[in-house]
């Protein structure tokens, strides 16, 4: 099984909400000082899905990330987890894109990588939460796609995918090659083991610039955007929280119940 997984470096989504700040000049989130970037969790689930298939059926996994000034410790983590190859689309020209221009670059890189059976993406990235890159890559490459998967099994050149719905799930069969986006319901993501970490240290990523993948400058990054960001702001939380008093937790509990009764909420 030849698999490609798209992974993104993002600001840690566990960053305390109070630490989020916006730079009004550039209309961007300021990376919180002292908090290291991480791999977007949904893309880690995408990698985990690929690793489970590699465990079951064997094969090769190529991790693919796009950005600029990518932190090696972050983007090399897939190698430590069991991916075989790492390709970085590292160039400022790739950045500041929307789902479309980002997907275009990733699709061009995937075309250059050649044969594949499966492409995995996270259902959305934990920074912009757009949830479109996977579908866009599938459209660009003319592939069938199944989104928000929680389970993937392969047999006879087909993938059997459990796709999450609003009240349960569907079981979908899709012929390979296909693109699948993965959700957290997939289950626990494995930790890198010592051997993986040592192997990752020795492996250098392949770095591609726009010219390497035949990407047209007008279609990547900021230049290729089809949607424009007009405004970015932090919502102001109004209102005070009334703290319930009491000499003990039990007394506080009773007072809370009485307060809610008073407010006719019970």
């Amino acid at each position: 099984m030849n698999m490609i997984v798209c992974l993104k470096q993002v600001i840690d989504p566990e960053t305390p909400p109070a630490s989020f700040k916006i730079d009004p000049q550039s209309n961007k989130i300021v990376p919180p000082p002292g908090i290291a970037p991480v791999l977007d969790p949904y893309s880690e689930y995408a990698l985990e899905a690929a690793l489970r298939i590699k465990d079951a059926k064997g094969g090769k996994i190529t991790a693919l990330s796009l950005g600029s000034d990518l932190v090696r410790e972050v983007v090399k983590k897939p190698l430590a987890m069991g991916a075989d190859e790492l390709v970085l689309l590292e160039d400022e020209a790739f950045t500041e894109g929307d789902s479309w221009s980002t997907a275009y670059a990733l699709a061009m890189a995937i075309k250059k990588l050649g044969d594949y059976d499966l492409i995995f993406c996270g259902r959305q990235a934990a920074d912009w939460d757009a949830g479109q890159v996977g579908s866009a890559i599938a459209e660009l490459l003319g592939l069938p796609s199944v989104t928000v998967a929680q389970k993937i099994d392969i047999s006879d050149g087909q993938a059997r995918v459990e796709r999450i719905t609003d009240d349960g799930y569907e079981v979908i069969e899709v012929p390979l090659p296909a693109l699948i986006t993965v959700s957290n319901e997939l289950g626990e993501v494995r930790y890198p083991n010592i051997r993986g970490i040592m192997a990752a240290r020795k492996k250098e990523p392949i770095i591609w610039r726009p010219a390497d993948i035949g990407a047209s400058a007008s279609q990547i990054g900021a230049a290729g955007r089809r949607s424009r960001l007009l405004k970015l702001w932090l919502p102001v939380r109004e209102g005070e929280c009334q703290m319930i008093e009491g000499d003990s937790p039990e007394e506080q509990a009773v007072n809370l119940a009485l307060k809610l009764r008073e407010a006719k909420l019970l």
């Binding site: 566990e14 920074d127 928000v148 079981v171 899709v174 970015l232 509990a253 407010a263 019970l266």
Partner: protein, 332 residues
Amino acid sequence: MAEYKGVMVCAEVSQDKLSAITRELMGCARKLADDLGEGLSAVLLSSDITSLAQEAITLGADRVYVIDDPLLKDYQTDAYVAVMGKLAQQVTPRIIILGQTAVGRDLAPRLAFRLETAATLDCVELAIDADSRRLLATRPVYGGNALATFTTESQPQIVTIRAKAFSPAEPDTSRQGEVTTIEAGIRPEDMRTKLLERVTEEVEGIRLEEASVVVSGGRGIGSAQGFKQLEELARLLKGALGASRPPCDNGWVPELSQIGITGKIIAPDLYIAVALSGSSQHLSGCSGAKNIVAINKDPEANIFRVANLGIVGDWKRVLPAFSEKVEELVSG
């Protein structure tokens, strides 16, 4: 060069009825159409849905396009993208609106890219720019920590709306409209994925999205056993049980209990958050609640920034006493 005019809603059909989000779609779209001074059309794609066309008209559609074909009975990406794509090229609407549902989040992006335009998903606010007449789409980003407004220059502008973010349309049976039947024109061989089975996960009691009271727990509950207490309280209050993502990932509660940006979006009258820190991703799912009560032993927990009533304390001591008093008050 075709002129792009009008707002088009992709209605959703569920169990032979227009789904709940369809009313919200119609309410939202009608307002936009009125702001533009243009028409509103609704699209019904499924099988045996011709009878629903009139309902779409009572909800505000000036015109309904009915595409009734057995091949469309269940949502399938290739079929729906092809049919909606062809219709959009025929009708050239300025704006297409879908629900942020299992269908919408799959259909909207692929449809947008097929039509060489862009989609903005999970919008909580939509407005027409007075000068440009472009649609301004606002959505939460960074897990709900920030809000962003986007627009596109390409046509049509495609968006999905978040559940409960827009007021539903009220049916007006005096409304008139036109119904147009369109051939789907799709072939089974063009449908590359196949639906083998659909599994509905039954949740006991009241559905989370419909409950007026929700008792919810976070990582601090610590176990499935702990959640039994919350479940009991929910039952006492005739409400539903919910959770943030970690308890679901840990298997302490069913996945369907998840409230947040990748879970359910709810707006109950009362939301009781127990041992739940209140991450932005979670708050995105419950900030529509009219009253939020928080019980958490960390006074700095983010949940206290959005709650209107709070107890700083150990839930293991607070909850039993609270449940006991509640039982006394509701039965007395």
